[in-house]
C-alpha cells in the first residue's frame, strides 16, 4: 500500500503515511484514508517521510483533507518533509495553512 494509516489508541488522532510519488495517482487512496473512518479526528498527521515528490494535485488533496478535518479550525500537520517537498510547499505558501515540519 502506498498510503498507510495509523490511529492513536484512543482513536482521536490519525496518521496518514504517503509513500513514493504523491500525485494524482494517489487521489482515491488518500481520500479513503480519512473518509473510510466515517468520523472526524482531533488531529491528523500527514507523514511524508517516504514521499519522493509532490505535485499540485497533492496540494489539492491536502486542502481537501484540511476541509474535511474542519477547515480553519483543523489541526493538520505535515511531517518529515524532504527539502524538495518543503520547497514545493514553500512556493505555494502552504505553511500558512498547515503545520509543516
Amino acid at each position: 500500500m502506498a498510503v498507510e494509516i495509523a490511529l492513536s489508541q484512543d482513536g482521536q488522532d490519525l496518521t496518514i503515511k504517503v509513500k513514493g510519488r504523491f500525485d494524482f495517482g494517489k487521489h482515491q487512496e488518500f481520500r479513503d484514508a480519512y473518509e473510510r473512518q466515517g468520523r472526524t479526528f482531533k488531529s491528523v498527521v500527514v507523514d511524508l517521510k517516504d514521499a519522493t515528490y509532490l505535485d499540485s494535485s497533492a496540494l489539492g488533496m491536502l486542502l481537501l483533507l484540511r476541509d474535511h478535518a474542519g477547515g480553519d479550525s483543523a489541526d493538520v500537520r505535515v511531517l518529515n518533509t524532504s527539502s524538495d517537498v518543503r520547497k514545493i510547499l514553500a512556493i505555494s505558501n502552504f505553511d500558512k495553512l498547515f503545520n509543516i515540519s
Binding site: S56, G60, I91
Partner: protein
C-alpha cells in the same frame, strides 16, 4: 454439440476423400462449410463469402496453402480470420513456413474430430477477442477525436477571451504550448485606461478540461476589471473570491500578477504559488527574484485573502521574466530537477537580451531533461509609454444624451480609503461626457496621480523622498500598506464640476485631503529626473491637463480639462 455460435468455415484440401471427411466433421460440429480443391479456389471463395475461419492444406496444386494464406490474410485486413493448416508435414521447416505465411495453428493428419473441434473453438475465442479489441479501439479513437474536437472548440472560444488583451504588444514576448490551456497554464495581459499594463501568468491545478474551466471566469474578471481601471489589489480580491466560490476545494490557481506603470517607472508584483519571476536590470547585476509570498488564488476566504503587493522601480529596458513550473520542474533521467540555480545561471549568462528564451531553452536541453509540454515563458520589456498605444475604447452610445452641466462631490473617509478605489467608478461617470473621451487616457492618469498624492502624501503622510533608490522604493510601498491598514481617520474630498462653454465645455477636478500639505513651489522647482522617481507626478498633471494649481498649502489641487464641440 453446438455450444457456440455457428461459423462459416472454408476448407481447402486437394484430396477428395480428405475434403469429404473434413467437411463432414466440421458440419457435425454445427458450422457451415465451404470447400475448395486448391489455393486459388480458396482465395476466390474467401473473397466472395468471407468465412470466419479457414482450414488450409499446405501442399495443393495450382496454388499452395502458403500463398493462399498470405492472400487471405491480406484480404481479411484488420479482421482476424484464423487459419489452421492441415498438414502431415512433420519437419520444423515446414511448420515454420506455415506460421510465416500467417497460419495460426496446425492440424495433423489423420484428423481427430475432438482435437479439431477444440481448435476451432479456441480460434473462435481468439477471433472474438480480436473483434472486441478492434471495436474498443475504434470506440476509443472516436472518443479521442470527439475530445480533441471539443478541446479545439473550447480553445477557440477561450482564445477569443484571452487574446482580447495586449499579448501582441511590441514589448511582450512569450512562449507557450498551443495546448497550454489544457495544462492549466494561463497567460493574460491588458492595458488599463491609463496605459498601465496588467499581466497574469497562472497555473491551475491539474490537467485537461478541469484545469481549463477555471480559466474562463478568471480571464473575464481580469479583463473586465483592468479595462475599468481597477488596480491589482481589487482585481486580485475579486479573482480570488470568484475562484473560491466556483472551484472545488482541491482546485486552485497559482498566479503571478504584474502591474507595469511605464509612466511612473515602477512595477507592482503579486505572486501566489508561482515559481520566482525575475526583474532583470538593464544595467546588469543579479536578477531580482519576484518571490511567491501568498497562497494561490481560490484557496483562502475573502476575509483571509492577502492582496498585498510589492513595488519595484523599473528603468527603461529593464525586463521582467516569468515562467511556469514546467521549467524548474523539468526532470532528467535520474529524477533530478532543473531547479532554480540552473535557471539563474542561464539568466546571468545571457548576453543578448533578445536571445533570452533560446538561452533558457538551450540550458534545459543541455540539462537533458525530458521536455515537458507545459513550459511557459514570458518576457516584458520596460519601454517609454509613447511606444505603446493602448487600443481606443469603443463606446456603444451615440452621445446625444451627454450631460453637460452638473457637479458632484464625494468625501471618502478612513474605513473606505482602506479598501475602496473610487477611480474606476468616477471614470465611468466622466465617460458619459463625449467631448472628454478623446482625452480619457490623460484624464485617468491625472485623476490617478491626484488621488494617490492625496492618499499617500496627504492622508498617510508618506515622504516621497524615500523612493530615491530601489530598496527605499520597496520600503515606501511596505510602509504605505502598513499605514493604510492602521488608518483610523482622515479623508479625501473630490469635487467634479462640469459646465458648457462656448463651442464645448470644461471639467474642473478638485481634490482635497486631510494631510499636512506640502511646499508646492519647492517641488515644482526640482529637476525633472528627480521629480520622476520621487515627486508627486505634478509635472505629469500639468502636462496632461489644461490648467493645474494647488491651494491651501498643497492640501487642495484644482485641475481643469476642456473640450471643443464635437463635429
Amino acid at each position: 454439440m453446438v455450444d457456440h455460435q455457428p461459423l462459416t468455415v472454408l476448407i481447402a484440401e486437394d484430396g477428395a476423400a480428405d475434403r469429404l471427411l473434413l467437411a463432414r466433421i466440421v458440419r457435425n460440429q454445427g458450422h457451415a462449410v465451404l470447400t475448395a480443391e486448391n489455393g486459388e479456389e480458396a482465395v476466390a471463395l474467401f473473397a466472395e463469402k468471407r468465412p470466419q475461419l479457414v482450414l488450409l492444406d499446405a501442399l495443393m496444386p495450382v496454388m499452395d496453402g502458403f500463398e493462399a494464406a498470405r492472400r487471405i490474410k491480406k484480404l481479411a485486413g484488420e479482421t482476424m480470420v484464423p487459419i489452421i493448416f492441415l498438414t502431415s508435414l512433420t519437419e520444423e521447416e515446414g511448420l515454420v513456413r506455415c506460421l510465416e505465411a500467417g497460419g495460426d495453428d496446425f492440424l495433423a493428419k489423420p484428423y481427430s474430430p475432438v482435437i479439431l473441434s477444440a481448435k476451432i473453438n479456441a480460434m473462435d475465442r481468439l477471433r472474438r477477442l480480436h473483434a472486441t479489441m478492434l471495436q474498443q479501439r475504434d470506440e476509443i479513437a472516436r472518443h479521442h477525436n470527439h475530445l480533441l474536437n471539443e478541446q479545439r472548440v473550447a480553445k477557440a472560444v477561450f482564445d477569443q477571451v484571452a487574446h482580447a488583451g495586449c499579448l501582441s504588444a511590441p514589448n511582450i514576448r512569450y512562449l507557450q504550448s498551443p495546448y497550454a490551456l489544457f495544462n492549466g497554464d494561463l497567460l493574460l495581459a491588458a492595458f488599463t485606461p491609463t496605459g498601465e499594463m496588467h499581466v497574469l501568468l497562472g497555473d491551475f491545478t491539474g490537467h485537461g478540461l478541469p484545469a481549463a474551466v477555471g480559466a474562463m471566469p478568471l480571464a473575464e474578471v481580469f479583463y473586465g476589471m483592468t479595462a475599468k481601471g481597477y488596480g491589482l489589489a481589487e482585481t486580485l480580491r475579486e479573482m480570488n473570491a470568484k475562484l473560491k466560490r466556483i472551484l472545488p476545494v482541491d482546485m486552485f490557481c497559482c498566479a503571478l500578477l504584474l502591474n507595469l506603470n511605464f509612466e511612473r517607472r515602477m512595477v507592482e508584483v503579486w505572486n501566489g504559488g508561482m515559481p520566482d519571476g525575475y526583474l532583470l536590470s538593464a544595467s546588469g547585476g543579479e536578477p531580482l527574484p519576484l518571490v511567491s509570498r501568498h497562497l494561490p488564488l481560490g484557496v483562502l476566504d475573502s476575509a483571509q485573502f492577502d492582496e498585498q503587493t510589492e513595488v519595484w522601480p523599473l528603468a527603461p529596458d529593464d525586463r521582467l521574466f516569468l515562467l511556469s513550473d514546467g521549467v524548474v520542474d523539468t526532470c532528467d533521467e535520474h529524477e533530478q530537477l532543473f531547479g532554480v540555480e540552473r535557471l539563474k545561471q542561464a539568466l546571468v549568462a545571457n548576453r543578448q537580451p533578445e536571445r533570452l528564451f533560446e538561452d533558457v531553452l538551450q540550458a534545459l536541453e543541455r540539462f537533458g531533461g525530458q521536455s515537458r509540454d507545459d513550459v511557459s515563458l514570458l518576457e516584458i520589456r520596460a519601454v517609454a509609454p509613447q511606444v505603446l498605444a493602448p487600443p481606443p475604447v469603443v463606446y456603444s452610445d451615440s452621445g446625444e444624451s451627454s450631460p453637460l452641466d452638473w457637479s458632484l462631490s464625494f468625501e471618502f473617509r478612513a474605513q473606505t480609503l482602506k479598501r475602496f478605489n473610487p477611480l474606476p467608478y468616477l471614470m465611468q461617470v466622466l465617460q458619459e461626457i463625449h467631448g472628454l473621451r478623446i482625452q480619457s487616457g490623460a484624464l485617468h492618469s491625472v485623476l490617478n496621480e491626484l488621488y494617490s498624492n492625496a492618499l499617500e502624501h496627504g492622508v498617510l503622510g508618506l515622504d516621497s523622498s524615500l523612493k530615491r533608490d530601489a530598496s527605499g522604493f520597496a520600503a515606501y510601498y511596505q510602509e504605505r500598506s502598513r499605514r493604510l491598514q492602521g488608518l483610523q481617520e482622515g479623508f479625501i474630498r473630490l469635487h467634479l464640476h462640469v459646465e458648457p462653454q462656448e463651442g464645448g465645455g470644461r471639467l474642473i477636478i478638485e481634490v482635497e485631503d486631510s494631510g499636512k500639505g506640502f511646499d508646492v513651489g519647492r517641488v515644482l522647482a526640482r529637476p525633472l529626473v528627480e521629480q520622476r522617481l520621487c515627486g508627486r507626478g505634478l509635472s505629469l498633471i500639468r502636462r496632461l491637463s489644461r490648467h493645474a494649481e494647488w491651494a491651501d498649502e498643497g492640501r487642495r489641487a484644482r485641475v481643469e480639462f476642456a473640450w471643443e464641440a464635437l463635429a
